[in-house]
Symmetry: C2
Subunit: 437 residues, 2 copies
């Protein structure tokens, strides 16, 4: 077993993202013809497009033609506008027709990831006839693991898994062994929704149908594995407080990267300016008791951190379908309790820290117990508010038809900071009145 | 086509996570026998275990026995310790042996997700013999889409995709059409690594082998789809600044949820206490120029936000294998430029805000231009430091053998806050010396 060759290719495959464009093409050239094909077929469509564009014309044809039509369409979609026509012309006329049809769909819809090369059967075939028929057609199909039973007008009547077909008596009719309850999607179903169906029903392929239930193609699970990764990346990047990237990190151009980050960062900065406005109102209190300023970062960051936890939990639970819009009150009542519990914990630690610091000769003055109480009480309020804001913001965003993942840790922290300051200074004013203020 | 029934079941399936345990069992009871089986097979192993434990003994047997051995093992793993033996006893002796063997593996290793029911062939069979043999065995196998070619001692010699077998000449030898370069994993390979292989090579199944290359089972892609979701959830929860949950959000008990969150939250709080220590050193400066305190939240939050963006990008790129440990310098040099660019942007906005506010009759005093300069310069320093910390922390964690996803937005923010204060007060002391300080 020449597992060695596999591992060399795998090593190369792993190195790929960190190579420059020139290094990639040079590496590709240095391989044997077989290795080149293996590597090429395993690359993402983005990387395939890059390689193809680096090749001379006669080679482009060879590599473009070994791709199944759905992958060829992806590669062409990744090429610059002015190259697309030329690439299409390199395909065989039949493949060109298929690829053109696929290019008409948006990249993130079922229609954009489906393959038109699926196995078709008639309901009045016998099992033996069906097997013989598939055995003839097999090479050109995306998968033979499901065969779709169609009438003359291509209406989807049912599906037979190849395994059922294979283990059924040879003289049974396809119509009798097919499953009539077919889980199908429409051409414009979002790929995220398609991915959810795969995960829910443990499927290997899902047919794509039009309004009249005519079959247009199938989406196979290997196409959808990448969708899971893409969607999780998008969500994470939004949750980190930025626009989602369209390319891998190291391949995103410097200016594009800056744009993706600058938008949210500036917006958050402008929002955070409200803290300066709020603080201006408390300048008199700070002048009277400078010690109050010392605890500002501690208090507002606690609100932000607890809010970040809560928003992450809710965003992910929503993405997996574990929590729905109408569950908001169940979540809110849980989070109020969590916020109180976590706030009390931090309040206890904060109180102990101030008292201990004072005992060790710190400088919080004679009113250190009042200061400790003001900090502790504020912490409970701020953590409660942070938890509640963090958990409810994703619901509010989804309710407005926006992406809940935009409720990023930085956004929640910014919203909580201003309120945190107001809570802190009001609690302090109440507790320290007559003593320090 | 009774698509209606499918959609009803799907609706029920979506509602499932938000039902209470009693409602679930009652709903289950209200279904027809066929619907019950369909629903049961589609549930996660966690939910299957819950239902089985709610059933009377004679029914438990039926439902446990319709599960393939790898799924039965998962269900038993989700049951409380004291129930596991009783559940094992409900299986047929053959299934019990298989499930026991699987239970010996950790749940997140290849051995823990593999199925022992794979298709086996001998190298000296003809294609027609192999097809006939599979046609007999098919019903009991996890998948027939790949058949593994073994010698007498179960050593893995090669693999034949069923499709190749099916479309090859009937009298060819299996040994001649099999692929000898088999991508395989070991029993203790982490499931995250297995998932990466599926995604890289677009596979439907991967064989699991021991040290002597004897085959132990296969992992199929439908088992691994859930792994993608699990791993992404874990990463996101860590990135939100907490321990990953083991169950869906609404099913995690209140106290367990609190524990998962309290640990990190307290740790971050204790870390953030350093800000209070740092601030104590600048009490004199604040007393002299209270206006300095006004911009503290604005400045430190900008460091935290830019750090959160950078750490999210790097963590996700690492998880997808786009960035590796030795790429740290490429990332660092990019991020230094990004930090300077983003810092300059925020500095410009901040400067404009202070000057504008003053022009509109705000209260920053005669030295407003100096204050604006101090804030702007600090912002460049803080954003640069935040970006660099956020992008390098995941490298440091991975270098130490820890999970880079622990470089959460809150952790980065906490690390950046103290430094942000020090930068701010030193810049301010330098610029305002002789004027305000």
């Amino acid at each position: 077993m020449t597992t060695k060759a596999v591992y060399e290719l795998e090593e190369l495959f792993r190195k790929w993202p960190s190579l420059s464009e020139e290094e990639r093409y040079a590496t590709f050239r240095s391989l044997t013809r077989d290795q080149r094909e293996d590597l090429f077929l395993d690359l993402s469509s983005h990387d395939q497009a890059e390689l193809i564009l680096a090749m001379p014309e006669h080679e482009r044809r060879t590599y473009l033609r070994i791709l199944p039509p759905d992958d060829a369409a992806d590669v062409i979609q990744h090429a610059p506008e002015e190259e697309r026509g030329k690439l299409l012309d390199l395909l065989t006329p039949a493949a060109r027709r298929e690829v053109r049809a696929l290019l008409a769909y948006a990249e993130d819809e079922a229609g954009g990831v489906m393959s038109p090369r699926f196995a078709r059967l008639r309901p009045d075939m016998t099992v033996d006839e069906a097997i013989a028929y598939l055995r003839l057609q097999g090479r050109q199909l995306e998968t033979i693991y499901y065969a779709y039973v169609l009438d003359q007008e291509q209406h989807l009547l049912g599906v037979v898994s190849f395994r059922e077909l294979f283990t059924a008596p040879g003289d049974a009719m396809v119509a009798d062994i097919m499953e009539k309850d077919v889980i199908a999607v429409r051409e414009d179903t979002d790929q995220e929704e398609v991915a959810r169906l795969f995960s829910t029903y443990d499927l290997v392929a899902i047919p794509v149908i039009d309004d009249e239930k005519r079959i247009k193609g199938i989406v196979t699970v290997d196409d959808i594995v990448d969708v899971f990764q893409e969607e999780a990346s998008e969500d994470m990047q939004k949750m980190g407080g930025m626009q989602a990237l369209e390319e891998p990190y190291l391949e995103t151009g410097f200016w594009q990267m800056l744009r993706k980050r600058a938008g949210w960062l500036s917006l958050l900065f402008v929002g955070e300016m409200l803290t300066a406005t709020a603080m201006s109102r408390y300048e008199a209190e700070i002048a009277q008791a400078v010690v109050l300023a010392v605890f500002i970062p501690l208090i507002i960051s606690s609100g932000g951190n607890s809010g970040s936890q809560a928003s992450t939990l809710v965003i992910r639970a929503m993405a997996l379908g574990e929590v729905r819009l109408r569950d908001w009150w169940r979540v809110a009542s849980r989070e109020i309790l969590s916020g109180l519990g976590l706030g009390a914990l931090l309040a206890a630690i904060g109180f102990a820290r101030i008292v201990l610091w004072h005992a060790l000769g710190g400088s919080y003055g004679q009113h250190f117990l009042l200061i400790a109480s003001a900090v502790a009480l504020s912490l409970i309020g701020v953590v409660l508010f942070g938890t509640l804001t963090g958990s409810m913001l994703p619901f509010a965003l989804r309710g407005l038809g926006l992406d809940p993942a935009s409720a990023s840790a930085p956004l929640v922290a910014t919203m909580v900071d201003v309120t945190g300051l107001i809570i802190y200074f009001n609690v302090a004013a109440f507790i320290l009145r007559g003593a320090l203020l």
